[in-house]
Symmetry: C2
Subunit: 411 residues, 2 copies
């Protein structure tokens, strides 16, 4: 697998665009420089798959997209940022009008489009701004790296960084490419926290198989990140596969399946970690790796509790090697284990620090602890002696800026 | 039921004391004014009951107290604050030495004492300071309101307020008194978040019955508060009932049982709300009341998710009537319901504000919203149309001070 530049336009036959149409002008000062409308489009029909929030309160675009992708076929994705169109007046109608606007401007059918929205909940979508913007959006479609970057920018809300990646693999002598853009920030938690991810690939693959594969991959990637434990109304991850790479179509298990699975997992894990490290107000990416567990489920339960704990998150913000909070978090995670078996280490580029062995504190160098925890990426490694299963989950520290951003998001 | 002044010394036959012995000098600058050692003692044997953290990682004092109270008998409680004696070297030995010191100074047996510790995890307890302090502690024992207040102060860590209450009820023509002191602050979450509570009563009641009653009461009170979703290693609630009120002993169901149950629930609910409103960095008490639910369990699941949500907590801090986050939280709570049935109101002394009806936003007065949310106590009322069950849970807002306090607790 090679990592290449470019995002969703890297695979053959995909165009993208991102523009400003004025949705955010609904609830904040006009920001003409801020893109808020994006599209991804394939030149030919695609096998399509999606995973969606498990929140009982689902935004209308989520429900509509699920319907549109039920036949595992689509051509494109239209995104808006600034308004989630969730619990909002005319939610269903406006989600449909977004798909209709995309269809009218591209000469396709509404059901060829996935619709993804993110932003404020409960406010009526400014559909006029979107309908007015879509022709310009379609006119801006291009297969360049810049076009992918524009789309990646246009889907952000309180995110600070674009989240773009592309990789290639060889399948049956052909180069197959996967590209992705994503957005995250607040309300991020396992089970598709508030995140949107659009993935493109020129791989030839059966649609139902792609759906099954995506579900598995999301479970091991996006569902293992947390920013604040809140799961949103709008989470959506969509894959479009147009087959233009010319590889022998993947229709079942085998070597090609495994290679493509690993590549898709890499893409999703990269985007998931980008989302975690760019969580609202985040200063540091926290990885918790639990090793030596009896089962992967047990390891995941414990690792998730650690990256979700507000006290652990505050301690990392304060570069405080307060491992007692790590023990506390695995203790209430719901996983069963013997506390006397637990070893805890903090690791980063600055070094490695053993803080707890046999379930008890060990003396450590406080100055080294500060150095280890001051890095951008900090790993909390929990080792048990129950088995050989391992799992990593990702989160971020809890900072003053998180409180600031979320104390007054609507104004 | 009457609410009276005084705390754990209000019931007949109980003494209390709180002094400084130097435990906190372990990890911070000496604070001779800060009390850190407390005792509650009955002049006669008591029926005793306890509930404890469900964290897999239990501090040694918790394990020891559970053993000491297994026979439903005790005489007193010894507390330290500043060191939790959890995951700490010589944890078991030092918890035992605390009980032994209490026993030696009072002429009782170690197993007559519950041992409660709170504070830093993973650091060896300064047992010498405790052993040196206990004779002065016992010498300070008194049955005055001030003595209860001293004990209430001595068990605090990052708490800002003492949490003391006493009530009386009439049982069989006798006045029965219940008193309590508690501490909370960080790491507070359902299932006995980091909290200690010592309850005294002169009621005559069977020990096994008292244990069963306490378990039920804690489920409906302390287990319905959350500060940060973290459940600690040390949570303990102990009741001592010495029978000196002379009421006909409660040995089973009946009117006296019901009256005493209601009084005990009132005491625990009061302490629980005090803990929530004094959560680390808290500016406001948030009550979420879910009404019209099919079952109390469903209502509790939803109310807990709301008061636990960092996004809701930040919104209340920012006096932002962001009801979308309330819908989002009940949506991922695990409870099943029809989003179209949901009504949400914000209430406080400043007024009442309908923000969502039929699962959708309704126009509201932003100025009134600011006023309603600026009060010390804010109620988020969620009304369903599924049934008649109701539940309230309590929490607090998420503030800059929470991050500050927890970013550097150890130093």
């Amino acid at each position: 697998m090679n990592i290449i530049t470019g995002g969703v336009t890297a695979p053959k036959g995909f165009q993208a665009a991102g523009i400003h149409c004025g949705i955010k002008d609904n609830f904040t000062t006009p920001q003409p420089d801020k893109k808020d409308l994006a599209m991804i489009l394939s030149s030919v029909p695609c096998a399509a798959a999606g995973t969606y929030t498990r929140n009982v309160v689902k935004a209308d675009p989520v429900i509509l997209t699920k319907e549109h992708l039920a036949d595992h076929q689509a051509r494109g994705i239209i995104f808006d940022s600034g308004n989630a169109n969730a619990c909002a007046p005319k939610g269903r109608e406006n989600a449909q009008r977004m798909a209709q606007a995309a269809a009218a401007a591209t000469g396709l059918r509404p059901q060829d489009f996935a619709v993804c929205s993110t932003g404020i909940i409960g406010v009526e979508l400014n559909i006029q701004a979107i309908e007015k913007g879509v022709p310009s959006l379609v006119a801006a479609l291009a297969d360049t790296p810049q076009a992918s970057l524009d789309a990646a920018h246009a889907i952000l809300t309180t995110d600070l960084k674009v989240k773009e990646i592309a990789v290639t693999v060889e399948l049956g002598g052909k180069t197959v490419t996967i590209g992705a853009i994503a957005k995250g920030s607040g309300m991020i938690h396992p089970n598709m926290g508030t995140m949107l991810c659009g993935i493109t690939t020129d791989c030839a693959i059966d649609g139902a198989l792609l759906q099954d594969m995506l579900r598995q991959v999301v479970t091991k990637t996006f569902n293992r990140i947390t920013v604040d434990g809140d799961t949103s109304t709008n989470d959506t991850c969509v894959v479009l596969a147009n087959g233009l790479a010319g590889n022998p179509a993947i229709t079942g298990p085998g070597e090609d399946y495994d290679i493509f699975f690993a590549a898709l997992r890499h893409v999703c894990e990269y985007e998931a970690k980008m989302i975690a490290s760019d969580g609202e107000g985040a200063g540091r990416l926290i990885t918790c790796t639990v090793m030596g567990a009896e089962t992967e489920e047990q390891a995941e339960q414990m690792a998730k509790a650690v990256v979700r704990s507000p006290l652990v998150k505050c301690a990392v913000f304060g570069t405080d090697a307060n491992w007692g909070r790590v023990l506390c978090a695995i203790g209430y995670s719901g996983a069963q284990f013997d506390p006397k078996d637990v070893e805890v280490k903090f690791l980063s580029r600055a070094g490695e620090l053993l803080v707890c062995a046999g379930g008890q504190g060990v003396a450590f160098d406080e100055a080294l602890a500060k150095r280890v925890l001051s890095e951008d990426e900090v790993v909390i490694q929990v080792t048990l002696t129950s088995g050989s299963a391992t799992c990593s989950c990702w989160g971020c520290d809890l900072t003053y800026d998180y409180v600031k951003i979320n104390g007054d998001y609507r104004s």
